[in-house]
Each structure stands twice: as structure tokens, then as C-alpha cells.
């Protein structure tokens, strides 16, 4: 991440969800995901989308993590049961150079079960149509942060105009290089799971906010990448 930030002027760091829940990680379990949020704050994440497993934390704990995050935790389609209120922020607008990029979050249907019925998951395609129309009045670049799987991401690109990039999760596909959907002019990216890789997408955005060029790769995080001293020091304090 530091290497890319040194090499590029405009960098966004995004996460496609299923990141906060402890699973079988003792430290994450013990802190109920707090160590993850603190690490992501340290790494300078720009946004994360809720995946179904993130809701296994329970809404009270999840809301605490959302308070602690120094980045927006997004979902445009998870609604509190019995209300018309979204659980999370639906989108965020980032100023990048002369442009404004909207990042819209979409969560998979399994989140409804994960939260024990406390939430309802709205159809992501319908939610995206609504929010894409809303943000396009302000932003000229539209990024979808999706925890729906690559197949669904492709469908979204085909059915909603104006999406420039979909950063995905859930299906754990390693898209190397990222897919280019020619009919919709949308880049679709996803990068495995368990932090084994990090994805790098390069976009050339023209004066109209459209993708004029694209590229990317998946970087496998092998042992040749030394531990970052700052991150090492952060984790050591928990031992």
C-alpha cells in the first residue's frame, strides 16, 4: 500500500466486505473486530462495504465498530427491520482532482439471516438504480463496492448505466487482471480472500469522468513483503 501511494497521486483503498467478524481468529474474537477496525484506520482505508458475515457481530457491536471506524462503512440496501432506515451509510463522495467519485455499497441477501431478522436486505439492483441516479447529480465517477459476487457484479454493470468500477467480494474470485465489460464500459475487480492478495486497479478518467483506459493486477502477499514496522508495532501491543 505504501509503495502504491508513493507511486500514484490519486489512490483509493477499498474493502469488499466480510472483514470484521472474528471467525476463528482469537484476537479478533476477543476484541469483537475492534482490532480490525483499528488496523484499517492505520492503513487508511477509504471505505468498506458490509458483507453478511460482518453482521454476525450483532447490530450493537457493529454500530460500535462503525463509530470507531475513521472511514465510512457502507451499505445502500440493508434496512432496519420494521423501518425505512438504512443500517449504514449508503454511499460516500470523494473529491479526486477535479472530479468527484461516488462509492456506493451493496450487501448480499444472506445478511438478513446473519442479523437474526433484525434487518431486511433490499434488492441490490433496485437500490443501485436509485442511488446511482442520486449520486450522478453530484459525482462524475461512480464506483460500486459490492459484496454480491462477480456474477452479480457483471449483471449490475449491464443493467445500471454509468458505473465505472465495481470492486467486489463474496465469490472470492481472483480476477487477474480485472474484467473489462465492454458493453457497459465497466471494470470489475475482486481479489480472493483471507488477505492473501491485494488488488490494484488503474483507471484513466477523462474530462467527462469516463474510463478512457484501464489496467490492473493482483499482488500476492508473500513472505517477500516484510512486515510493516508500524503495523507490527500496532499488533505487538495486543500481545
Amino acid at each position: 500500500m505504501k509503495q502504491e501511494r508513493e507511486a500514484s497521486e490519486n489512490v483509493l483503498l477499498l474493502d469488499g466486505g466480510n472483514t470484521l467478524f472474528p471467525g476463528d481468529r482469537p484476537l479478533v474474537q476477543q476484541t469483537q473486530g475492534q482490532v480490525i477496525v483499528e488496523a484499517m484506520n492505520l492503513l487508511g482505508y477509504d471505505a468498506l462495504v458490509l458483507g453478511d458475515q460482518d453482521l454476525w457481530l450483532g447490530l450493537d457491536v457493529l454500530r460500535q465498530r462503525m463509530e470507531e471506524a475513521e472511514f465510512p462503512i457502507l451499505s445502500a440496501n440493508v434496512v432496519i427491520q420494521g423501518t425505512d432506515q438504512l443500517l449504514a451509510t449508503p454511499y460516500v463522495i470523494k473529491e479526486i482532482g477535479d472530479h468527484k467519485a461516488a462509492i456506493i455499497g451493496l450487501t448480499n441477501q444472506e445478511a438478513a439471516n446473519a442479523a437474526g431478522g433484525a434487518v431486511v436486505v433490499r434488492n441490490p439492483l433496485e437500490a443501485l438504480k436509485d442511488y446511482a441516479a442520486q449520486v450522478s447529480e453530484e459525482a462524475d465517477v461512480i464506483i460500486v463496492l459490492s459484496h454480491l459476487g462477480a456474477e452479480m457484479d457483471l449483471q449490475l454493470a449491464g443493467e445500471v448505466q454509468g458505473i465505472d468500477l465495481i470492486v467486489g467480494g463474496y465469490s472470492r474470485d481472483v480476477l487477474d487482471p480485472p474484467l473489462w465489460d465492454e458493453p457497459s464500459s465497466t471494470v470489475i475487480a475482486q481479489v480472493g480472500y483471507q488477505g492473501q492478495q491485494i488488488g490494484v486497479v488503474s483507471l484513466e478518467i477523462d474530462s467527462q469522468g469516463k474510463v478512457a483506459g484501464h489496467g490492473g493486477q493482483v499482488v500476492v502477499l508473500t513472505e517477500e513483503f516484510a512486515d510493516d514496522p508500524e503495523m507490527r508495532a500496532f499488533l505487538d501491543q495486543y500481545e
Partner: protein, 49 residues
């Protein structure tokens, strides 16, 4: 005289609007954007089991 004042007022209004940028919008410069991304890390601060 009244007509001259009216013409002057309209001229001032047009000049004022031009200053306020009500003409063509300033073109945006193209940009290169790098997006780094992760997903499904399932608690990445510890090694997987």
C-alpha cells in the same frame, strides 16, 4: 434617459453573471486513479488457521 439607465442595468447584470461563472463550466482535467482493494479478509490481523 430612463431607457439608457435600463440598458446600463441590463449590461451590468450580464457582466455580473459572467463573473459569477454562469457561462460554460470549466473543463475537468483527466486523472489517473489507482484503486487498491481487498475483500473477504475474515480478520486479517492474524494468520489463517
Amino acid at each position: 434617459m430612463r431607457r439608457i439607465k435600463l440598458v446600463a442595468l441590463v449590461a451590468l447584470a450580464v457582466v455580473g453573471l459572467a463573473f459569477l461563472g454562469c457561462g460554460s463550466p470549466t473543463p475537468k482535467r483527466p486523472l489517473e486513479l489507482t484503486v487498491l482493494h481487498t475483500n473477504d479478509t475474515l480478520g486479517f490481523t492474524e494468520p489463517c488457521g
